[in-house]
Assembly symmetry: C2
Homo-oligomer: 409 residues x 2
């Protein structure tokens, strides 16, 4: 039950020269579903990654960090769904390393040139034998135009595959940017999506690739929340194969870098929003804009207080303009010297509150009209500075509880 | 659907000399329910209060703070349910003051000797006319043995009235301590209960009354959570009439003070736990104990991360030992230098995790057995210090969403 999330059109997902993708049915958790993805990256590829800050981070996250610390000329990604290989201790690390070693042997590369990813149930051992047995089939199926199958292969409770793609012309050359993501629960900043991979064939210096990753993440995966739970496995990987040719982009103030960064950010925002639109049980897509704060941090505090409140989220689910709950969330967001009499609250174009209470011109039927929509913008003007922040979230429905109560059955 | 919460036995609710309670049907929000409570306090009573830290705090909370700042010889409390008088701006303040003035006139006391409280829907104007019209009937009904009706009069989405009572002998005199509370949603520390009033007839110096209040609150109302939403109206009031006679308790290290404080804390814990047991949609009562932390603050961080996680709470609802979700919550609780390999996780007596993953001796059927219980203790040993903290919470069920989606209908 995704909120206005069309199925990705395979024809609109541009191949990225230097990137081939292959999937397989390894039977990790269920017998009859595609649950294994191998991404092959051409020689010369540079990679950068951003990972969960959860202290109980998964074994593959630790291995990814190790490998990226040693070398950025990554040549393959391997992803399984069905099991997160998190909370699995020393054995989990061994399993993640064994996965990299097996794929490295098949591909004739070094194990440190492989990045492993897992998503699924926590604290159960990875079925390593079945995973390794599935690798040859995934490798045999490597193709340039396999992005949609790849997006499908990494789904867990996602109801739809998530993929986005753009083309930009930089220095006279056409550059492709294509990415996939998965995630529908356990979603909150640092990181938000459980897994996202974005690839481009642009040639770019490693330091600038990292800068583009940070820029895009702050505006996309780190600006969404479903349930406030930070996953143990969240990973966002950006790879640049350089296959488009030409001089590497090397200056942070160059037009080429800014154009590439903007396109990467667009793809990342599209993927991050797709995660919220497909969030577990979501029936509404909510944009929370907070403006007029003293700094970004306080704007984000207020935005997340609203976006995390179970009471606000159930009111959206019910299409009930019980908007005092939003005022309450603003009030407990943790800004100690907040003067509530200066705050204005808008629901789309409807001014709801001002002067510390309901706006004199507010009419319940106007609030009701907006609340019935599938997409709603909550705008809070703090009127005490010039900073702003935007967060995307969804409502909290019966189905969120149903899905998460029955996750393992 | 409360979790093992017996109806209070009226015979076990001791009258507190100096305190009389009267209720009325004022038609604040619904025509046919008792929704107004007046508590009369004898001359010589001392009062202390602790209030929400929500910046959008309700008008009656502001008025309570004003009145308590001017004088502690409070002579009456007035409480309405059905409307929170919060997010109501300047008019809300006028309404709360008018309520105090009207009751003061009826009782022949000063308006500053009245403390007003409201609970119910936010951001709708208080129906002042109906409230004032109900006051004479509440005053006419003042009685010493009216504690159960009082507990019923302040309910909102509570399914059961909440009251607790103890007797202690101090300095050869029998002292009564009786309290009531209400609250079932929008519950989180600072403050937890929306409203609680505890009275004793012990004679006690104002500074020690305040100290006893802080002590009891930290161990009761500030150690529970239902949904992480801090209400705009939370108030905890402790009154001591001194009607038992004798010398006022004046030394913080005296046996008399420690005995009184212990009994007050017991009553407060019983009321706070009753709120969690009766939480919206709750089917499980969960005790989260975190021990072996470096300080109280980090123990509370971990306990609240577990107690607030929608994924952990839905797993409890489903009786599903998907206990990796608890590890994930520990991991994102915000302790940056946490070594997860040193952590142990227990579910009642069952050791679930150690060494950064599932404990070798853990068997799913043992976890399943404990998860089926209505009362469960989650114990986390951080093994890095000597501090500890306990938090009480409940599961997240279909009915939580149902109740909060349909609150105003």
């Amino acid at each position: 039950m995704a909120v206005k999330l069309p199925l990705p059109d395979p024809a609109a997902l541009h191949s990225v020269p230097g990137v081939r993708l292959g999937t397989a049915r390894a039977g990790i958790r269920k017998a009859d579903r595609t649950d294994l993805l191998v991404v092959e990256l051409a020689q010369g590829t540079q990679a950068a990654g951003l990972f969960t800050r959860n202290r109980f981070c998964a074994a593959p996250v630790l291995v990814c960090k190790e490998h990226l610390a040693r070398r950025t000329d990554i040549r393959a990604l391997v992803v399984n769904t069905g099991n997160a290989n998190a909370g699995t201790g020393a054995r989990g690390l061994e399993d993640a390393r064994a996965t990299c070693a097996a794929l490295a042997r098949l591909q004739g590369i070094a194990p440190e040139q492989v990045l492993p990813f897992s998503t699924g149930v926590i604290m159960e051992p990875l079925p390593l034998g079945r995973l390794l047995a599935g690798l040859p089939a995934a490798v045999a199926g490597l193709r340039h135009d396999n992005w949609l199958s790849a997006a499908q292969a990494i789904m867990t409770t996602d109801t739809q595959p998530k993929a986005a793609s753009r083309r930009v012309t930089i220095g006279g050359r056409q550059i492709a940017i294509t990415g996939i993501a998965k995630g529908a629960g356990m979603i909150r900043p640092d990181m938000a999506t459980m897994l996202s991979f974005v690839a481009t064939d642009a040639p770019i210096a490693p330091a600038l690739l990292r800068a583009a990753l940070d820029h895009a993440a702050a505006r996309s995966f780190n600006a969404i929340t479903v349930d406030g739970d930070t996953s143990t496995n969240d990973s966002f990987i950006l790879v640049a194969t350089g296959a488009a040719g030409g001089e590497p982009i090397a200056r942070p103030d160059s037009e080429a870098f800014l154009a590439l960064r903007a396109a990467l950010t667009e793809v990342s925002v599209a993927l991050a929003q797709a995660i919220v639109r497909d969030a577990e049980g979501a029936t509404k897509f909510i944009t929370v804009q907070v403006e007029g704060g003293r700094d970004d941090a306080e704007c984000r505090k207020v935005a997340y207080a609203i976006a995390h409140s179970p009471l606000v989220k159930t009111a959206f689910f019910a299409s009930d303009p019980n908007l005092g709950r939003i005022l309450a969330a603003i009030g407990y967001a943790g800004i100690d010297d907040l003067d509530v009499s200066g705050i204005e609250l808008y629901l789309d174009d409807v001014k709801v509150a001002s002067g510390g209470g309901r706006d004199p011109a507010y009419r319940e039927e106007d609030g009701q009209r907006v609340m019935r929509q599938a997409e709603i913008t909550v705008r809070v003007a703090l009127n005490r500075g010039h900073a702003a922040a935007t967060v995307w979230t969804c409502d909290l429905s019966h189905d969120y509880v149903k899905i998460n109560a029955e996750y393992r059955t």
